[in-house]
């Protein structure tokens, strides 16, 4: 099975490496926010009470990593829809290879791709905008980014395979991703001091809001149970849940 996963991973990686434009395309949005919104944020954070600890870049960069994951991994299902249309998926499903390998190989590819982008984004923030974050914190944050990537790309494949439509799929994704993104507080953190009570309560229902907080804590170098536990537990739980969902979808006949 690891061999099959590796084969699927390498197949997708070969295609990505032939078109390295994906790195740039995926990074465009977060870099624009970094350049055109970051400096604004610097002033706001220093003059507005209620922000969590840390400077503007420590708050913004983890947020942009979540945005990167959402726009990268969440749309991974498109490649599966293409393979569905061209019959590639069916061809591979008639081989003795495990169906789970077909899923995990893709997820692994998407996650590696996301991590490369995340590293580039962090480097840009460090070099150009002077982001200061401890190395261990960055490593921890990247681990979380990887888990978010796994979660979102697995969910995306499950959804694509369930909907099987190149029209419905992006429509559903957009209607989910926008509220999730806003309720995660990727630009301005949703805290008790900054947000009205109802909005804060609503954001607590969004698992990514908890993960977001843990990620920001890692950039501040806070590794306390208080700062990391909720986010980590929530993250591991949603990762396991979506992998399970995607696995059952991939194993279902006619999928």
């Amino acid at each position: 099975m690891p061999r099959e996963i590796w084969l699927v991973f390498r197949r997708h990686m070969a295609v990505s490496l032939r078109n390295p434009a994906w790195v740039i395309v995926g990074l465009t949005q977060p870099i624009l926010y970094l350049v055109l919104f970051g400096p604004l944020m610097e002033r706001i954070v220093s003059s507005t009470p209620g922000f969590p600890q840390g400077d503007a870049w420590q708050i913004l960069t983890p947020g942009l990593l979540v945005q990167l994951s959402l726009f990268g991994s969440l749309f991974a299902g498109f490649s599966l829809l293409a393979d569905l249309t061209t019959g590639v998926l069916e061809r591979l499903r008639v081989t003795p290879a495990r169906r789970l390998s077909l899923l995990l190989g893709r997820v692994l590819h998407d996650t590696v791709q996301l991590l490369v982008q995340a590293v580039i984004l962090i480097l840009l923030a460090v070099v150009i905008f002077g982001l200061r974050a401890p190395l261990a914190g960055i490593a921890l944050c990247l681990t979380m980014v990887a888990l978010i990537g796994i979660t979102l790309s697995a969910a995306s494949y499950a959804l694509a395979l369930t909907l099987r439509s190149e029209e419905t799929f992006p429509a559903v994704l957009t209607s989910i991703s926008t509220p999730v993104l806003l309720l995660t507080g990727i630009l301005v953190p949703i805290t008790t001091n900054l947000a009205p009570h109802w909005l804060y309560t609503l954001s607590r229902l969004n698992p990514f809001a908890h993960v977001m907080e843990a990620q920001r804590a890692t950039f501040r170098g806070e590794y306390t149970v208080d700062a990391l536990l909720t986010g980590s537990v929530v993250l591991v739980a949603i990762t396991a849940l979506t992998i399970w969902w995607a696995t059952t979808t991939f194993h279902r006949e006619n999928a």
Binding site: A14, R91, V94, T95, P96, E253
Partner: protein
């Protein structure tokens, strides 16, 4: 090689259940080249998807390549090659990459995959394309790559779903040659679907005619043709001798559907080739001057018409595949 009993599959749809396949029994012996003939929407592809483990039957059972379809689908997958209707190659991948993942998924080593891939590529006239992207191949080349992928693990049985649909006549004839040759060289069992009568006629040892989810006839192309309506014979004679000639033709054993034109007589007999000498002798004895004679074996289209009351084209379900 294949033994299916009562294989059926019902799909749920908004308009209620759709019985795509309703109780198919079929047997395919090792080394046979069997064609599944029927209009679009008759249940060909669904039956193929059942036999290749892509769909679970609603009822019925089957063994494919000695493995039970329901209890050992992975065993079935190891035994068979499957080439889907629209193919199944990724446009952005290189030919070499497609061959490699296919072979290695079947458990071949890298070296074996390369060797086997090269042999198939040269056998199917796609050698030297290994480094090309799939999207740069022509339709015929892509189709042959599909077939090479389906055969990479040297299966004893290969399923070809509409192998020549969408190919130009030259590529079609070329592919037929390849299929015949592969089968002759490797004793491959081939189960193919087609809605081309000439394809079933030219290629298959045995034809199963499917309509509306059930098999309505089975036999060699010749058997089917002779069993159904017989050969059509048309005779041209001198004007004025038509009634006499028609009388003679009508007395031939098994002659039926005798019609006459200004100086032609048409009729059907079970075997045109054996009826002809007798006809010629009788015409000669009666001093009737014969100008030309033609014998047409019935096409499978005639067969389909007789069996179902519809021509193949009429039977096509719009939009179905």
């Amino acid at each position: 090689m294949i033994e299916a009993r009562g294989l059926a599959r019902t799909f749920r749809s908004r308009g209620g259940p759709v019985e795509a396949v309703r109780g198919v029994d079929l047997d395919v012996a090792p080394g046979e080249l069997v064609g599944f003939l029927g209009p679009n929407g008759a249940g060909k592809t669904t039956t193929l998807r059942l036999l290749t483990t892509l769909l679970r039957p609603t009822t019925g059972r089957a063994t494919v390549g000695g493995c039970d379809l329901l209890t050992d689908p992975v065993g079935v997958r190891r035994q068979i090659g499957y080439v889907a209707q629209g193919g199944g190659t990724a446009y952005e991948c290189r030919v070499r990459e497609e061959i490699e993942i296919q072979g290695r998924f079947y458990g071949l080593s890298k070296a074996d995959t390369v060797r086997r891939g090269a042999a198939l590529a040269s056998r199917l006239d796609i050698a030297g394309l290994e480094h090309r992207l799939v999207r740069t191949l022509s339709g015929g080349q892509r189709r042959r790559l599909d077939i090479a992928l389906g055969l990479i693990h040297a299966p004893a049985l290969v399923f070809l779903d509409e192998p020549t649909t969408g190919l130009d006549p030259q590529s079609r004839a070329n592919l037929w040659e390849h299929i015949r040759a592969l089968r002759a060289e490797h004793g491959l069992t081939v189960f193919l679907t087609t809605h081309y009568l000439d394809e079933a006629d030219a290629l298959c040892d045995r034809v199963l005619v499917i309509d509306n989810g059930t098999i309505v006839a089975t036999g060699t192309p010749d058997e089917l043709k002779s069993r159904i309506s017989g050969d059509s014979v048309s005779v041209e004679v001198a004007p004025g001798t038509v009634p006499d000639a028609a009388g003679i033709a009508g007395r031939l054993p098994g002659a039926h559907e005798v019609t006459t034109g200004e100086n032609t007589i048409r009729f059907r007999v079970p075997r045109g080739d054996t009826a002809l000498p007798e006809l010629l002798r009788a015409l000669h004895t009666h001093g009737i001057d014969l100008r030309s004679v033609q014998v047409h074996r019935p096409s499978l289209n005639d067969v389909f018409l007789t069996l179902t009351g519809r021509t193949l084209r009429d039977a096509e379900v719009p939009g179905a595949a």
